[in-house]
């Protein structure tokens, strides 16, 4: 144990004496610090902005004057997706998905105003976030500093005497690994600070720590492979070339190939396309604006029988409101069916991408990081579903007022002059059917459950590489 520690300490001492190592370390630390601060600033600005917009939208809705209830159904409402606290570590899909949805009767709109559309376009890597830095850049620093841990000794011919003096291959291996692992832990400090900030913003501390732990395991994977490659290579050039090759494949090539593979393997017709089929289905249901639509004949007959009256005018409830409510319910179940199917296929596309985590730990950590942070596709879907629930509730609430608070006679005569139009209005007190909306990511245990698969990948990667390293070190050659 002390031998292992002594070897690690020797490595640290060397790095501290190397100008290149210090400069590289400082540059990466600077990048981490700068992106952390900038991203934390940006996301907390976004958070307060969207919370504010949500409040304004609710106030405006409630402040609407007395109206015909169906007018409010079309007036509609806006909901905004508030980024979760951990988005300051990993904003995930926040920038590429719309942040707000307009909710109205009879329609499920798409989310609008993705940041990516309005901001400057600078090609492939235009945004650096702390997650990106830890996933792609920190491993490069580890490679730059660590590729020589073994091969340096081999080139300097100090490996043979070390082994001959009785230092075991194992303690050498674990010592070098400890040296790199220590470096990784030092590099994780800014992440831990960010995690602390998210806890203050209301995130469960266990979630933040899980994210940090995930990145810890991920960086250890890099440490493990760096030590293995360094132990096997005959020159520093070869070690560095091999490690850069691995980085290129893992970080740049496999993730994008995974996207190509997912889009070829799982086809997701766009919403526009499925909408055509959906509207054909919906036409069968009848137009809820038109109570005379033959589709509602049965509903009318049933109601007349139920209240034992001859005509809809005699009904104690507003037939037009009932038609609106019934057709909204039918319509919504069709729309939800299509939406669920679409989200289901999108999720399997994303899972297809994540499966490539078995080929590249970069995919595994980025998936884990988004899942845990609540900035993944599923969270966006959750936003769409919650928005739909809000939509359905307020529309049906308004339809209920339409049924109970507005007489059928006043309703059908609403276009007969100004006075008739005034009679066909109900009090703005009825607008209180609108629920307050505050988007929060899924509960911690749900996010953790999603992360099992990428976490398993990371663990297997680490275990396999450690086993490989331990096996190699037993037969270490000078």
């Amino acid at each position: 144990m002390t031998a292992t520690y002594a070897i690690a300490r020797e490595e640290w001492r060397l790095w501290l004496r190397s100008k290149v190592a210090i400069i590289a370390f400082l540059i990466v630390s600077l990048i981490i610090a700068a992106t952390s601060v900038l991203n934390a600033q940006r996301m907390s600005h976004e958070r307060s902005e969207r919370v504010h917009q949500q409040e304004t939208a609710e106030e405006t809705f409630l402040a609407q004057p007395d109206r015909h209830p169906h007018r409010m159904v079309h007036y509609g409402h806006y909901v905004f997706r508030t980024p979760p606290p951990l988005s300051i570590v990993d904003p995930g899909v926040d920038a590429v998905t719309g942040q707000s949805i307009f909710l109205e009767g009879h329609r499920q709109n798409t989310a609008m105003f993705a940041d990516a559309r309005a901001s400057a376009n600078l090609g492939s890597f235009e945004g650096i976030t702390p997650a990106f830095v830890y996933q792609l850049l920190v491993p490069l620093l580890l490679i730059a500093l660590g590729h020589g841990v073994f091969v340096r000794e081999r080139e300097a011919k100090t490996l043979a005497p070390l082994l001959a003096q009785g230092t075991s291959g194992h303690s050498l291996y674990f010592g070098k690994l400890l040296a790199l692992a220590g470096l990784s832990v030092a590099l994780l400090v800014p992440l831990l600070i960010l995690v602390g900030v998210t806890t203050a913003l209301g995130e469960a501390w266990a979630m933040g720590l899980s994210v940090a732990l995930g990145y810890g395991i991920y960086l250890f994977i890099w440490c493990a492979i760096i030590v293995v490659v360094s132990a096997m290579s005959s020159t520093r050039g070869i070690a560095l070339g091999l490690l850069v090759f691995v980085w290129l494949i893992w970080a740049l090539i496999v993730p994008r190939l995974a996207v190509a593979s997912a889009s070829a393997a799982v086809s997701v017709p766009g919403k526009l396309e499925t909408d055509f089929q959906m509207y054909a289905d919906i036409r069968e249901l009848g137009d809820g604006h038109n109570a005379a639509d033959p589709a509602f004949a049965k509903l009318r007959a049933n109601l007349l029988a139920q209240y034992d009256v001859e005509s809809v005018e005699e009904l104690p409830v507003n037939f037009r409101g009932i038609v609106a409510q019934t057709s909204e319910a039918d319509l919504t179940s069709v729309m939800n069916e299509y939406a669920d199917r679409r989200m289901g296929v999108e999720w399997s596309q994303s899972q297809h991408v994540t499966q490539y985590g078995w080929l590249s730990p970069v995919i595994a950590i980025s998936a884990a990081s988004r899942y845990l942070s609540g900035t993944d596709l599923v969270t966006h879907h959750r936003f769409l579903r919650e928005a739909e629930a809000v939509r359905f509730d307020f529309v049906q609430g308004l339809n209920q007022s339409h049924i109970e608070r507005l007489s059928y006679i006043d309703d059908i005569n609403r276009n007969q002059g100004a006075e008739a139009s005034r009679r066909a209005r109900i009090s703005s007190d009825n607008w209180k059917v609108l629920d307050e909306f505050e988007f929060t990511p899924a509960a911690a245990d749900e996010r953790v459950a999603r992360t099992v698969s990428p976490a398993l990948m990371l663990s297997v990667w680490l275990a396999a590489l450690l086993a490989l390293g331990a096996g190699l070190s037993a037969r270490l050659k000078p």
Binding site: L38, Q53, Q99, M112, R117, S124, F125, V259, L272
Partner: protein
């Protein structure tokens, strides 16, 4: 000539160089392949949408036999077909819309809807040719060239080689530069031929690739000239790559986004909605007066018989658009100003620059997205020009009149 053949012979013996060239070739080939596939799938999608849209419009005509309802219930498909060169850079097509259905209602409430693909795709990014050229090709070149002098030095042949033939480094590097250029350009040329891209596009694209590679060759030569060891060369060059390909674009983006403010998109749709909805409760003149400012030709037809007429309904839809026009224009201008500034500042990052060049050749850049948006706006204006006379003059609903309704064409 003998020096060249000797160097060719060396290259044919250099396993690691061949591996990198092979990877570069495979990357470029896969990239154009994926690009061609994506483009053909987008074309198919557009064809399917067009067919479905025609059917749907016929259904709507059957069902609604008055101009107001027909206009309300009829959606019109608009689309932005991929160009012959789109395979090389899918660009903004993952986040900006390239298909859209609109109707006669206020356009500002509809135009920002986006039928985007899986957001994970846009987040991770596409493996397109522009990515290979901008991000990967400098790395391939660095890996091929960083140890040219250093490895000979390590082998103890450097002094000898350097003394006997000064041109050897230039030939050796030039040969590898040429090899990388060929393995990157060949797939592009084949794909361009297959998809029918124009000679000018291919020429500009090839020139851009060569310029980009030459730039990196110069950077590598400069670093190599310091006479450091191969690992230090490689580390330094990766640092330069990191600075130019990743840190600079991110910095430019932050700078541009904060320098040019763009109104919040949400404000546009909110304001539009308020105007349109308030109109119901306002006197007719509150709608018709601003409407007639734009359309004085309907002044004689702007009176209303009952409390509801479709012409009034569509007039307040248009007034909704008119009210947010300044915001909407500021939003569009802001995006274009950001793009202009990015174009200028991207000279600081050759990888970002070449990616922008490719997106512009492929018509997948910000201005192509803006052009499409403008075409949708023009088409929407045509729809209004078509419907207004019919509604204001209370024209009979005839098949003949329906047959002249504009439809979007690419």
């Amino acid at each position: 000539m003998t020096a060249l053949t000797r160097e060719l012979w060396f290259l044919s013996k250099d396993r690691s160089a061949q591996v990198w060239l092979l990877i570069a070739f495979a990357a470029a080939s896969f990239a154009v392949l994926f690009g061609l596939q994506e483009v053909s799938s987008q074309r198919d999608t557009i064809e399917r949408l067009k067919a479905a849209d025609t059917i749907e419009r016929e259904v709507a005509i059957e069902e609604y036999q008055d101009w107001g309802s027909a206009a309300y219930y009829t959606f019109h498909l608009t689309y932005d077909a991929p160009s012959e060169f789109t395979f090389a850079a899918l660009g903004q097509r993952d986040t900006a819309p390239w298909k859209h259905r609109i109707r006669m209602l206020a356009l500002e409430g509809q135009i920002y809807e986006t039928d985007a693909p899986n957001p994970d795709f846009a987040l991770i990014g596409r493996f397109d040719y522009a990515f290979v050229v901008a991000i990967l090709s400098p790395l391939f070149l660095i890996l091929l060239l960083h140890d040219l002098r250093a490895s000979e030095k390590a082998n103890g042949r450097y002094e000898l080689l350097d003394a006997t033939d000064e041109g050897v480094w230039r030939i050796r590097a030039g040969l590898r530069l040429a090899a990388v250029s060929i393995v990157l350009l060949l797939p592009l040329w084949v794909a361009a031929l297959l998809s029918g891209a124009s000679g000018v596009q291919v020429f500009v694209a090839s020139a851009a690739v060569l310029l980009h590679l030459t730039f990196w060759w110069a950077v590598i030569a400069w670093i190599n000239a310091h006479g450091w060891t191969a690992p230090i060369n490689l580390t330094t060059l990766f640092g330069v790559w990191l600075a130019l390909a990743i840190v600079a674009p991110a910095g430019i983006k932050i700078a541009v986004d904060s320098a040019v403010a763009v109104p919040d998109g949400g404000d546009i749709v909110l304001t539009q909605r308020e105007t349109v909805n308030d109109a119901w409760d306002l006197p007719v003149s509150a709608t018709m007066d601003p409407f007639l400012e734009r359309h004085p030709e309907w002044a004689d037809y702007a009176t209303m018989e009952g409390t509801f007429e479709w012409k009034w309904y569509y007039a307040f839809q248009q007034v909704g658009d008119q009210t947010v026009e300044p915001l909407s224009i500021a939003y569009r201008d802001g995006r274009m100003r950001r793009d202009g500034l990015s174009a200028m500042l991207s000279w600081l990052s050759p990888p970002a620059k070449i990616e922008r060049v490719f997106q512009s050749l492929s018509q997948t850049d910000t201005s192509a997205a803006a052009t499409y948006e403008n075409r949708v706006r023009t088409f929407h204006a045509e729809l209004r020009d078509y419907y207004y006379p019919l509604m204001f003059k209370d024209a009979p609903f005839t098949d003949e009149a329906v047959s002249t309704r504009p439809s979007f064409s690419n």
